[in-house]
Subunit: 475 residues, 2 copies
Amino acid sequence: MKVDHIISNAYVLTMEGNGVGMIENGAVAIKGNLIEAVGQTDEILKDFKAERYIDGKGKAVLPGLIDAHIHTGMAIFRGVAQDMNNWMQKGLWPFMKHLTVEESVKGSMLNIVEGIKAGTTTFGDYDSNMPKIIENYVKIGARARVAELVNEIPDDIGDLPVGELYPFFPEIGERKLKNNLELLDRWHEAENGRITAILGPHGPDMMSLELLNEFKHLAEKYDTKLHMHVAQGDREIDQMVKRYGKRSIAFLDDHGFLNGRLLAVHLTEATDSETRLVASKGSSMIYCAGSIGIIDGLVPPLLTFIESGGQGALGSDQAPGNNCNNMFNEMKFAAILTKVKKSNPTVFPATLALRLATIEAAKVIGLEHQIGSLTKGKKADIIMINLQEANLSPVFSTPIRNIVPNLVYSARGHEVEMSIIDGKIIMEDRILQTVDESQVIREAQQVADAISVRAKDDILSAESDILDMMRNNYL
Amino acid sequence: MKVDHIISNAYVLTMEGNGVGMIENGAVAIKGNLIEAVGQTDEILKDFKAERYIDGKGKAVLPGLIDAHIHTGMAIFRGVAQDMNNWMQKGLWPFMKHLTVEESVKGSMLNIVEGIKAGTTTFGDYDSNMPKIIENYVKIGARARVAELVNEIPDDIGDLPVGELYPFFPEIGERKLKNNLELLDRWHEAENGRITAILGPHGPDMMSLELLNEFKHLAEKYDTKLHMHVAQGDREIDQMVKRYGKRSIAFLDDHGFLNGRLLAVHLTEATDSETRLVASKGSSMIYCAGSIGIIDGLVPPLLTFIESGGQGALGSDQAPGNNCNNMFNEMKFAAILTKVKKSNPTVFPATLALRLATIEAAKVIGLEHQIGSLTKGKKADIIMINLQEANLSPVFSTPIRNIVPNLVYSARGHEVEMSIIDGKIIMEDRILQTVDESQVIREAQQVADAISVRAKDDILSAESDILDMMRNNYL
């Protein structure tokens, strides 16, 4: 049988089964946008002829990584707010209030490029202005599972004193919900199915119960999922207790939100019993290790969630908090931060981290029938990693293998040589095939230069920890 | 005046003063192996002519990173032991017992290549067979501050049941001490001063008090430092309490080891009061964030040490525990693990991390008069980092700068384009100039293949957690 591509002679990590599904000297045959076969190299080469043969000797071949939670629209503000108190209000907000939609979209493209160059093939993007951001995914050729960030709070909420209850404006919610429905109606299953859309309520504290309930009904109507921040910080819990006299998770339970449709992001402030409750109801959890570590200095309860039978995934969140959007960073931090939380090096093995960025993440976002492992009939979202880099060498294969620990604990992202998404080679020899990377970087720099000027007075009057650092020549 | 190289138009982080000593649009003039001048580009270009001009536009230029504690001789075992109990005895030892000196040296070169490609220019190498390993540094042209790992325990100590007191053999100590003295006598200040040697007692639990006391006298005789593991794990504390009825730090204090000559590595098991005692006596601390996080699931007390007035540095330790030897990894983990330990995002800013890998580390290892910052008269150990990578873009420079946070929280190592050590360009456009990188990797792979065969029976009979993972297709 004739196929388009055969990658052969590789260490193929199929991620099928309970582990990593390793096939040494393995091969993958790709036809159109689908995986036609996965197996031993000699068998695949006997059964198939290809338009193009790709040599995988000395390489690892695995499913493209899934970043289950990312806000690409904030990428332009990488590195402007960390090591500080009041991250959102004093760090980010003086910049954010000056960001136009067009500028956010340019920053988003930078973020998507960064992700692809570090092995991400599917982006769980959750941001404002998604009907515009989505054009980036169309152009670059990445897989996206998008949601509009919907709330009823005004854009200048950052000016509200800390601790005051957010005001809700139904017309804001309507406008943003309209964007979310546009995604579902116009974009869901677009681009050969590469783009899919779900619902994106911003958080239980960010809108009225009426709008939350509307989301619940829409999720049933569209038979889709709700991507939502839950217990993401003490600010949220404080709002919920002040408004409803309940913490977030009890409130969501009361109103019927804890079920298989909910992707609960962060759970930073969830107690152990709240965590177990969310898991027991069949909701999923997305853990953003780097972001929550930097912004809050905390380690959310992913391990408790998984041990309670819950389904977990990893996400890189946003550049101004985490500073990078790289799933190798998230895998390593998820494992080590959890080991440290439990003072036990065995509780979070490398294999679990790799599964949480591939097959388990696919289950969380509801695409496990299409992506997350390498098997006949799934979409051809595949990355090839050069193991012959100094930091991934040498390779031991018998009687034990060291490939998975080295991918999780030593790979940095730049070892990803090739990225295939939906059967198409998007990156080859680390060069993006669909966009001009240097132009993307140049345009992002122009945006940053322009915002620096417009935001100057607000940044200076914020009196943030960052300004102190500048004055002390610490930055 | 004529110089050899001028790097201009860069963001120069001199690391002088209390912060990062940023010079925007800065330049560095290099003559021979020394920095001739650092300043504004226009001034430097007015005052000097160069053999070669290097354009630093869009780049950060900073002192080469210092890895204050690394065992390069173990690099060949990257990734064979993690996520497990009894890391040393069941994970590493079945491999280690089959390692020849020649094989260790080949692995060491792989590790040095990895470090240089991630911006390390000075290696605080602390290992066995250093008189052989040192040839790697001579060849590749890196700066090294070496010490022989000296103990009195037999090579097969890994076969001793956990909890039994180590036997000491004076003839082993004598042989290893001879290696250490060879370093001091033959290699100290060799290669134009690029190689220097200090003393390397393995730990207070690893040799008799007699030999420890000999080290104390040798340190005075040679006017040098002692690079030593201190309170590195419960295994050490257990040995000390069983042998002497004292914990490590009280024992070292009793015998006069807590002073400015001591580089205390790890302090994993040090209590707060022990930590403060070590700091107050003028000893230094080296923190290996990634290694101790993965092997032990613990966060040593670096912050308490620094807040008590102690001098700290970072190290990458060894590849079979940490899996990578990359100071960008260490800076990020040191900052985030400490934030998480204190549940406070402000306690460990990016600037502190960068200082601990440059100027503060230079003070710890006693080379602050030569390296660690960019200023006239210091050695020309300089790295140039491309900020126009997607993950380091965009650059904000006014009214706040985001370069330092992005270097610490987002750089991965591959953004280092050029490395200059002792005035010589060792890496340019990411290509090593002094060794053939692919040959180094190939030779390390041959070593791994050979050891796999020889060590097979020992690995299989170790009944380690890793073997269970192999059987379950987790690796």
